[in-house]
Subunit: 307 residues, 2 copies
């Protein structure tokens, strides 16, 4: 199962973290942006090329110590079609370096359209008699608001091509509770969503004990995460909210099962922008700075959850 | 307000419908696909060029009688970056013909990332000192599961650039009720979401009486639509589920206020694939067939709701 590969990479590297690749122009060392703008002017293509070059530099310096990366689609779409080229190439480059790639797109739609999304990011498309894998990520984030027939096409693709998905359960943002915490009888909406994932994931549980249908559970709500961890023993958690959003190692700990299993914690900005806090501050040492922050995060989290 | 423009176009054309541009290779007349594959082979680029050519042909034949089009992003993303080029160009072409363009992407994320999506599809991005409008649609569909701080960035962009969004409330698919119909006290989840939209939309109500924050309400649940229509007098409804999904004119009628105001009904497949039902059946008359179906749909719906 795909999820076994993620869990195995985490164990091998003793590192239950995923590096978010969420580039914004202001996160990119000025010399990289300048180089590409010198070639292509102040264009979306130049920014997209800079995004990709920055990502490749980060991947090169992190691939031996982190198990996974999570490009956030929004930041690439923001550059129009050129940005989507950078996203596509980032996925391919990260995979070529052995990383597990979680494409963060939070896609959702009714059945036939959900199938188009899942074919796009995890599956295949055929033109004439020729078949392509348009993005070919290992995993995709999705939103479950449409119910199980909005999720099933993604699960079918996961089954056919051995991929995984992570559906939003309890998100890390301040107003996540407005809808997600609503009382449903003795339960809450996010718990009902978690139960649905647990149910739908039952036939894709790998040897690691987790299914290919994971859950997004924010580090900023540790009490809720603890209850979900106990309730959903076969659901792998993707955990945003560490670092810039305020969560620390103690906050992410409840997302993990024993031995640091069953969860992966995302950090984006702290790693991508680590260069802004070094003595040079000019971005020339962005790789060393990112690696140092990734090591610090690994030690911080592994020290608490014991992977 | 942006929503005034949509309502005005509907009134001018006496047509409360939107044409879904959801191309799949099998929806495209064979001669169009063949022409582009002859030029570029069995490639994603050829398929994307065929999508765009087909869309332009549909827009040319429909622009004087329909107010709006709704490209479904999934089908373009399915062709990778080349498909996103076709999406971008389709939005631009439809706008150049005076159509209101609702980009159906069902985007959602936490605040800063939601801002990237809304800047991408409705707003602007700056590279160096140069500003671009990456997609520049009139409207975008979104998913409200993250709560109000996931919606507010979209509303900010709507305010700055005079755009609209439609958030999922009660979707048209068979399992939409699994989560959306859950009881919340005396209410349901979809009603709570609807109330949230009503609240957040209060400061963007146009002269037409509706706000720039609309709701997606499926035609396949007419009783729920009727209750929502009464409850949310300032919320414009985008109504999927007519035609191929089983809803008829009587089913969409409850989504409308008096005089056929306050809603727009989508049809995709019936119009795009109308050529398959003509006597030639070879797609050579796809424009005439699409126009005939669009006229039939206008008469069917306008006859019942009286726009």
């Amino acid at each position: 199962m795909s999820i076994d590969r993620l869990q195995q990479l985490i164990i091998e590297k003793k590192n239950p973290t995923v590096v978010g690749l969420d580039p914004r122009p202001e996160y990119i060392p000025p010399h990289i942006l300048a180089e590409h703008m010198a070639q292509k002017g102040e264009t979306l293509e130049a920014a997209a090329d800079a995004f990709y070059a920055f990502n490749c530099g980060l991947i090169d310096t992190l691939a031996d110590i982190v198990p996974a990366v999570k490009p956030q689609s929004a930041y690439y779409e923001l550059l129009g079609p050129a940005g989507v080229v950078a996203l596509h190439n980032t996925v391919a480059y990260a995979k070529s370096k052995g990383l597990y790639v979680i494409l963060d797109g939070k896609r959702n739609d009714i059945g036939s359209t959900a199938a188009a999304y899942s074919d796009a990011y995890l599956g295949r498309v055929t033109v004439g008699n020729t078949t392509y894998a348009p993005f070919d990520a290992d995993s995709l984030t999705v939103n479950a608001y449409l119910g199980s027939d909005g999720l099933r096409p993604f699960l079918e693709t996961c089954k056919t091509f051995d991929k995984s998905i992570f559906a939003l359960v309890k998100t890390s943002n301040p107003s996540s509770g407005e809808l997600q915490d609503l009382r449903i009888g003795d339960s809450t909406l996010y718990t009902v969503v978690g139960d649905l994932l647990d149910h739908l994931g039952q036939d894709s549980i790998g040897i690691c004990g987790y299914s290919n249908l994971g859950a997004v559970v924010g580090a900023t709500y540790p009490a809720e995460a603890k209850a979900l961890r106990e309730r959903l023993p076969h659901t792998f958690f993707l955990v945003p909210g560490y670092g810039a959003q305020g969560g620390g190692a103690a906050d992410v700990a409840p997302c993990f099962a024993e031995g640091g299993r069953g969860a992966v914690v995302n950090s984006s900005r702290a790693i991508m922008c680590a260069w802004k806090k070094t003595t040079t501050g000019d971005g020339s040492d962005y790789q060393e700075a990112a690696r140092a922050e990734a090591v610090r995060m690994q030690q911080d989290i592994a020290g608490v959850v014991g992977v």
